[in-house]
Amino acid sequence: MAAQHCAGSAPGIDTGAVYSKDKRPVDTSCFFGTRKYQRDDMKKFIETLVEEHGGRASELLQILIKVQARWHHVPRDCIEQLAEQLHIPRTRVISVVEFYTFLHAQPRGEYEILISDSITDRMLGKPQLMDFLAAKLQVQVGAVRQDGLVSLDNTSCTGMCDQGPAGLINGRAVTALDTRKVVAIAELIASKVPVEEWSGDFFLVHDNIRKAGLLLGDTIGNGVALHSAFARGLDETLRELDISGLRGRGGAGFKTALKWRFAKQEQDSERFVVCNADEGEPGTFKDRVLLNSHAHELFEGMTLCAAIIGAKQGFLYLRGEYQYLYEPLQQVLQQRRQSGLLGGNIAGQDVTFDIEIHVGAGAYICGEESALIESLEGKCGIPRNRPPYPVSQGYLGKPTVVNNVETFVAAAKVAVHGGDWFAARGTEQSKGSKILSISGDCRHPGIYEYNFGVSVAGILDDCGADDVFGVQIGGPSGTFIGNAEFDRKLAFEDLATGGSFIVFDNSRNVLDIVQNFTDFFAHESCGFCTPCRVGTALLKKQFDKIQQGHGSAGDLLELERLGRLIKTTSHCGLGQTAANPILTTLQRYPELYQRQLKKISFEPGFDLDGSLETARKLSRRNDPAAHLTQGGE
């Protein structure tokens, strides 16, 4: 069996190997193959899984997540068995494994540790902590330890910016990491204590609600929104939603009532409601809190939407980083079924609706609604061409409403209190409130809810931020504003935001921040379109060249030109915003970039002298002629 497994390592699946400079990767899967599992066990495991998921290919991602958890990777044999049992080409399984960062074709450690590399985690000491962790565990970052027990790597923002440095251990969120905890973790791993038996302290996640408003201020009773809606009439309720002026809270701000009405008017009678809980924008964590403490209202909002548009099935797409919320959310769904708020005859009406939870697996792009739908269908999260929009052809090609967690919660409140109640707050084009995730250099990071129209200065006062240099509004895809602009207001008409609000004080280096964001987009690009796939990689190279002091005046123009191209020709929002960190800071702080530039006309973007190192070593030379200067004589 082992031999066969070796022979079966197709070039396709070994992404890292195929593309790495070193052409002879060590394939440890054979070794793991014999030691870790027997093929019969695996077959049974897969059969049971496939059956649990109704044998549907759209469940592929959900199945693979469980395979990954069981075997610490997706073994080649699993891929073959899944392809056979789900009646899909093996290439479909392989491409999904290779797309999502939490799935692996090669074994990860039995303890897989991922540390959030978000800028906020870095500001809280992540780099030093990572070094300490690597030393304690005797494992290199990005690698699996020789004995296969532990692996360590970076991951994109895990949504714990108010309590970092954070990470994931075997998929479970860990927060507020420090050297004491790292020592304890190293000991637990050394003595092979299963993660399930670790102290709950490691996994404590605080809501940190600092300021409550329209949505967080009170909790509506279970079923109250639905009863109100049915009593008022569904058409009337949709009108109330219209009056409320509620716009999508993910950031784009499309009018919610309009979206629901479009879906309702579609010919196709099979429709879907999807909640986008793939909160991946670095610096955003408000959905985490809503899912933890306001889940009933969220599901109530989704059920309301279903009743209005005539959907029978809903999905909550939960980001993989929030896996720890999966069980509690299932319990809430179960309670609602028992209370007659889900299932058939909801609230005594002729309404049937239920909600399934789908979990993501580490792909920021799945926050884009059409990519999210692809992912729900068990495919790679690649944004679709639009039109058609999801509201007419979404999940399985059927009309689908996709809304943010906060939007559904707000809709439920509007159903209870009416549209005017909501519209009385906020500004002309931005009614109601916005929940912000505040992190970075401030004394009280956490969740703050404000009526739209609040000024940045006011927020900074509340969260205890002094000596502020600037704020990243709306995460890396948003805008960086400097301290001359703090009178600007949060509203769709000025600073639109999905809720990420990262504060930077004067001790921070803007270029470090921009570099972290630029790396993030290059890492998260789905690779579908040329400008984003190649462009974000080039943008990273070009920025690094300047950051490392090898840039000249022309390089800055080039950076801007490249950024503009990516912004204007990319397929979806990711590419269209990927250059924002560079473009918005270049506009505000040209001098910070210029300070990095060389006076000379041009310098290579790679380390020229370093490029002679191999030849120097092999020829055992170190004479002056065996060296090159970077900038020329």
């Binding site: 400079k21 070193d22 052409k23 022309g554 006309s601 041009f602 290579p604 973007g605 790679f606 020229l608 370093g610 490029s611 002679l612 190192e613 191999t614 030849a615 120097r616 092999l618 020829s619 055992r620 030379r621 004479d623 002629a625 065996a626 090159l628 020329g632 004589e633």
Partner: protein
């Protein structure tokens, strides 16, 4: 003609095919000689590049000497031109970029059939190889590019006569080739 255009040419990691192609302008070279003064080039055998108007570079950058020569050209030529596939994208020599340098050297000087006294050369007179072969635009600013492997004689002729005639050089469709 009082002020002749001063022209220099060189081949870095190239095969001199581009130079051969330049010579393919045949008798027009006499006309060219009326208009240009050749500085450092294999045609004159001048060893170092003096002040020049135009420098034509054939070949990519594969070793430390290439870097020095390229810099000498960039420093002395008002207009620097990348000529041919190798100067533009590394070309054939860049195909070694997919094999680690150590292995290339080992294959050539240690493991190859018939090697005696196997050792990797270490004479300080010899230029050291760079880890990768690079197109020249990754090391210096380049003003014009003449693609082709090699660019045909008419490409050189069109480009140089445009330049000498004070026109912005441009190549018609039939002269743009990468092969």
């Amino acid at each position: 003609m009082a002020n002749k255009i001063r022209l220099a040419t060189t081949s870095l990691a190239g095969c001199f095919g581009c130079h051969m192609s330049l010579l393919d302008i045949d008798e027009r070279i006499l006309e060219l000689a009326e208009l240009v003064e050749f500085n450092r080039t294999p045609i004159t055998d001048i060893k170092h590049c003096g002040d020049c108007d135009v420098g034509l570079i054939e070949g990519g950058v594969c070793n430390s000497e290439n870097v020095h020569v390229l810099r000498e050209f960039r420093g002395n030529c008002k207009i620097l031109v990348a000529v041919g596939a190798c100067a533009i994208n590394g070309g054939l020599p860049a195909m070694r970029n997919f094999i680690p340098l150590g292995e290339c050297l080992k294959e050539a000087y240690i493991d190859a059939i018939g090697v005696e006294n196997a050792q990797i050369p270490s004479d300080p007179e010899l230029p050291l190889l760079l880890e990768n072969v690079h197109p020249i635009h990754e090391l210096v600013k380049v003003d014009y590019f003449l693609p082709g492997c090699p660019p045909c004689a008419d490409v050189f002729w069109k480009f140089l006569t445009d330049l000498i005639g004070g026109r912005e050089p441009s190549l018609p469709y039939e002269l743009i080739h990468y092969d």
